[in-house]
Structures are given as C-alpha cells and as structure tokens.
C-alpha cells in the first residue's frame, strides 16, 4: 500500500516527519499482545483494543456500540481510520455509567492500526473518557464528537507507547453552552501527531484543549490545533507545555479563529516550551484570526531553560541535581495536567509524567 501522506512542504505539517510511517505500516509485529491484566485506572466501563480490534474478553462495553461509526474525515491521517470502530451515544440528560470514567486502552503490537470513534452527546448529557496508548507500531485514530446544548465531555489521553507513532485526529462541534475539556499527555518513547479541529457552534460554548508533551532522544511530538469560535459568548482555553531533551523536537501550532458573529469571545492561549538541552528543538506557533470586534483573546508563547537559581536553591538544601531538575520540570508541566477532572486519572497521569522525567519509564 502506498500512503499519500503530507510532507513538510505543507504549512500545517512543516514540523512533522511522517517519513517513517510507511515503513512502520508494513513492519511485522514487534511484540506479543500482552495477556496479563492492565493497570486500569477506573472501575467503570472499559475497552481494550489490540491493534484496533476489541478484545471482548477483557472489555466491559456497557453502553458502547462496536461497529460502523458512520463518520468520515478529509484529514490526511484521520481519513485512514475507517471500518469498525466504537460509538458512544448518550440521550438527553444521559450520563456515562457510574463507577468512574469510561476507560480505553489501545495496545499496538507493531504495524499500523486505525480506529474511528464517534461520540454523540445529546442535550445535557455528560461523559468522561480516559484513553491510553501503549505498545509499538503506528496507532492512528479519528474521533468525531458532536455535543448538544449544555452537554459536557471530559477527555484525558495519554500517549505512552514504547516506540512507533501515535496520530490522533479530533473533530468536534459544540452546541450552545456545551463544554469539552481535552487534556493530553505525551510521556512515552514513540513520536506523535495530535490534530484537532474544534468548533464552538452555539452561543456560550466552552472548549479547553491542551496538555504536556515530553520528548527525549530523537522523539518528535507535534500538535496542531484549531479552535474556532463560530458563535458569540464562547470561551476557549489552550494550555500547552512542551519539554524537549537531547535531540528531540516538540512543536505546537495552536490557532484561534473568531468569526464575525462571535462577539464577546473569551479566548486564552498559553504555549510554553522548556529545553533541557540546547540540542533540542521547540517550535511554537500561536495564531489568532479575529473577525469580530468585541473579543478578548489573550495569548502567550515562551521558550526557556530551567531556572539556574532555582536549581542551586534546591541543591543547597540537599536535593541532588538530577532530582532538582526533575522537580522543576514537573512543576513546569503541572498546570497542564491539573486540568484533568477525574482524580484517579489525574494522579495516574502525574505519576506517568514523573516516571518519564525520572527517566525510569
């Protein structure tokens, strides 16, 4: 199969390197599907996908349908995720089943796997979903989200593959007063591309999209997010933290669009990069495109190194230099991860980040 993948000559892909994907897609499996138990965070419904296929024996799919999702995308990677996928459809006032968030673990054993997902929340419905990507190979996902009036969805996604590539494409549309909060953590040893197009399509909608991307060795993390305020009184927050060590590259392009009718928009964007070595690369591209005249759009983008004074202060109190660096780096990404609403998930993500920073994972 020949893949028609975007190249860095296209502006939206300028910091991506997808050249390995073709080889990854045809590579034989590098690992066995693990048959032991997983460290599930939640006691609620759970889905285990091995190479994009549901492992029924180890899943509890209450309320989730497996089959054709009926979604399609024009996105160069998203459109590859076709066929059988999962759908969560909640009726008016519906809520995801009790026992904690819906938890999904995606295991890749090598090669390529694609999976579409469709999340439909009717008026006032609410759900919380935690997803984890582990293994090797290329995991590619398309998630289409439709949110009715005042619906609420919290998503927490951690990308912790040992190698390979994880590409996620989200397309979301929010009706009036709906709220979508997505928090991502990249703390594995593979590379990633995170793509999202979120449209605030009703008055007073709220969208938050951000997270922390940690990269070392020759890892590449790349996020490209477009948040569009199509209607008035919307609020959006994009808070991203990138950490790059060795020869790694972390890139974040975050765009806010405010349409002519989207008066009283309140948008905030905070992109910060931390370079642990000068051989690393961090690219930040904050973009604002505003056509309304009565809006508040705050934005900030900074790249820096660890504060030498803070490091010495910690060492002078007895903390060894490696630990001091890890603590300061952890502090740097803390506010991005603290956005996760579910406490158990937040703790698990924090521990994952800490482990990465300590170099133990």
């Amino acid at each position: 199969m020949t893949l028609a993948l975007p190249t860095p000559r296209e502006e939206a892909w300028r910091w991506s390197d997808l050249s390995d994907l073709e080889a990854l897609a045809v590579a034989p499996a590098t690992m066995q599907a693990p048959d032991g138990d997983f460290h599930w965070i939640s006691k609620g419904p759970r889905l285990l996908f091995v190479d994009g296929k549901l492992d029924e024996g180890r899943s509890r799919i209450d309320g989730i349908e497996i089959g054709s999702t009926g979604i399609a995308s024009g996105h160069p990677l998203g459109k590859l995720a076709t066929g059988t996928g999962w759908t969560l459809a909640l009726h008016r006032d519906g809520a995801s089943p009790p026992g904690g968030p819906i938890e999904i673990i995606h295991v890749a054993t090598g090669g390529a796997n694609h999976l579409p997902a469709h999340i439909i929340l009717a008026e006032d419905a609410q759900a919380s979903i935690v997803e984890t990507y582990i293994g090797d190979g290329w995991a590619n996902r398309l998630t289409v989200i439709e949110m009715g009036r005042s619906a609420r969805l919290m998503r927490a996604i951690r990308i912790v593959q040992d190698s390979g590539f994880t590409s996620l494409r989200d397309e979301a549309r929010l009706d009036a007063g709906a709220s979508l909060v997505t928090t991502l953590l990249g703390a594995g040893h593979g590379s990633s591309r995170i793509d999202a197009a979120i449209i605030l399509d009703g008055p007073g909608a709220f969208a938050e999209h951000g997270g922390a991307l940690l990269a070392r060795d020759d890892q590449r993390h790349d996020a490209a997010v477009v948040l569009r305020h199509a209607r008035e009184l919307g609020t959006s927050r994009q808070l991203w933290r990138a950490v790059a060590d060795d020869k790694a590259t972390a890139s974040m392009a975050a765009r806010v669009e405010v349409a002519r009718d989207a008066q009283k928009t309140d948008a905030e964007q905070s992109l910060r990069g931390l370079m642990l070595k000068r051989t690393a690369t961090i690219n930040l591209k904050p973009e604002l495109e505003i056509f309304a005249d009565d809006v508040k759009c705050a934005h900030g983008a900074t790249v820096g190194e660890l504060d030498e004074r803070g490091l010495f202060y910690m060492m002078s109190r007895g903390i060894p230099p490696e630990r001091a660096r890890a603590l300061l780096t952890q502090a740097f990404i803390a506010d991005a991860i603290s956005r996760i609403g579910d406490e158990a998930a937040r703790d698990a993500f924090q521990a994952e980040a800490e482990q990465w920073l300590e170099g133990r994972s």
Binding site: D307, E308, R309, G310, F312, Y313, M314, M315, S316, R317, G318, I319, P320, P321, R323, A324, L327, L328, Q330, A331, F332, A334, D335
Partner: protein, 247 residues
Amino acid sequence: MLNIENLHAEVDGKSILKGLSLTLNPGEIHAIMGPNGAGKSTLSYVLAGRPGYAVTEGSVTFDGQDLLALAPHERAAAGLFLGFQYPVEIPGVSNVQFLREALNAQRKIRGEEPLSGADFLKRARIQADALGLSMDMLKRPVNVGFSGGEKKRNEMVQMGIIDPKLAILDETDSGLDIDALRTVGDGINRIMRTPDKAVLLITHYQRLLDYVKPDFVHVLAGGRIVRTGGAELAHELEREGYGAIAA
C-alpha cells in the same frame, strides 16, 4: 568546624576574594560585616558551592572534610546550610514537598532512614509555629507570593527543619521590620546556639547583632578580613562607618 585558609575566588574572571582566612569552632557565632562589594555574598556562595564561583587558591575544610571537593547537595548533607539573601521562588513545588525531599535526600546521603510524612509534618509545624508562618503557607509553592519578610522567615523555618551544624546566613536581616527581626533573631538563637553548632552571620548593619550576640565580628573589605574583634566592633562600625576601619 570550618577552616578557611587563604581563599581566593573569582566570578566571571573577576577576582573577588583575595586571601581570606577564617576559623569557626563549635559553639561560636561569627559575624562578617563589610561595605557593599566587599565579597560578603561571594563568600557565602563559594562555601555553598554555587556554579560560576571559581576558587583559584586556598582551602576550606568542614569537619575535617575538603568542603570544596563536595557538590552543593553533598555540602548540605554534611551539615552546611545557606540562608539566602534573596530566597528563590519555585512555582509548582510546595514548601512541604521541597523540604521533605531535601531532608530525606540529606538523610539518604548520611545513611539514615527517611522521615515519614507524619514525622516530617510534626517537625515542620513546630518550626512554622515558632516563626509565625502558617502550615497553609508551607503548603503553597516555595516562596511564591511571600513578602520579603515571609521569605526570610521561611529560610529560618527551613533551617529549623533541616537542623544543620553550620549556618551561613547571608543578610538574613535585610528587608525585615523590627518585629520580624526579633522573630528571626530568636529563631537563630533557638536553632543554632548550641555547643555543637556554629553560625556565620553576614550582615551590613549591626541591628541583627542586638538579637544574636556574636562571639566574633570580622570586617571584610577588598576580599579579605581586615579586622577582627568582639561584639563591640559592630557598634564601632555603626558609629564610624566602614571607611575609617577598612582603610
């Protein structure tokens, strides 16, 4: 306890300390006074091992160990504490986490068992109460949003929790009002005035010395000690200024 001999040090290639010698014995409190630019802060940073401060000549031994061969965190574990003139703010790391990490890292180097969370909090509460900081403040990020006086009191809380053998206090009195000065002075006496500990107080003014009586006062000028005396020397300096004495 601390033996500094003929210490020469430079910062950014500029020579600051030029042959400083000083000995502190257990149970002694020494004050180092001197005009701005004399090298007071440089001395404290060289002793604590701050990167960028290069020793070009001389030696420093601490309890018989070559202090200059130790990394900053090893100096702390050996019992040396630096009270900063400008305590650093660390957003995202709470005082409690910072201090517990610090204390247990020191204990690990010394081959001691880590302190449990409960024992640590008990110790922290005693020191916070004594210095008028609330435990709520200790749960907040290190020095973030603290006033100048609160930062200095926090230095003393840290000193109390860590319980060092030797404290080097760099202008701990600067930025303190008269009540805070008394609290900090009481803290120094309570924590450090024991027969097995020593203090090096670095100060520009003698007012802290009204609360913490030094056994020796040294005048640092031009990178070396130019005069040594008892507590009365501080008053003489206050009366006559550094000009006459350092000249």
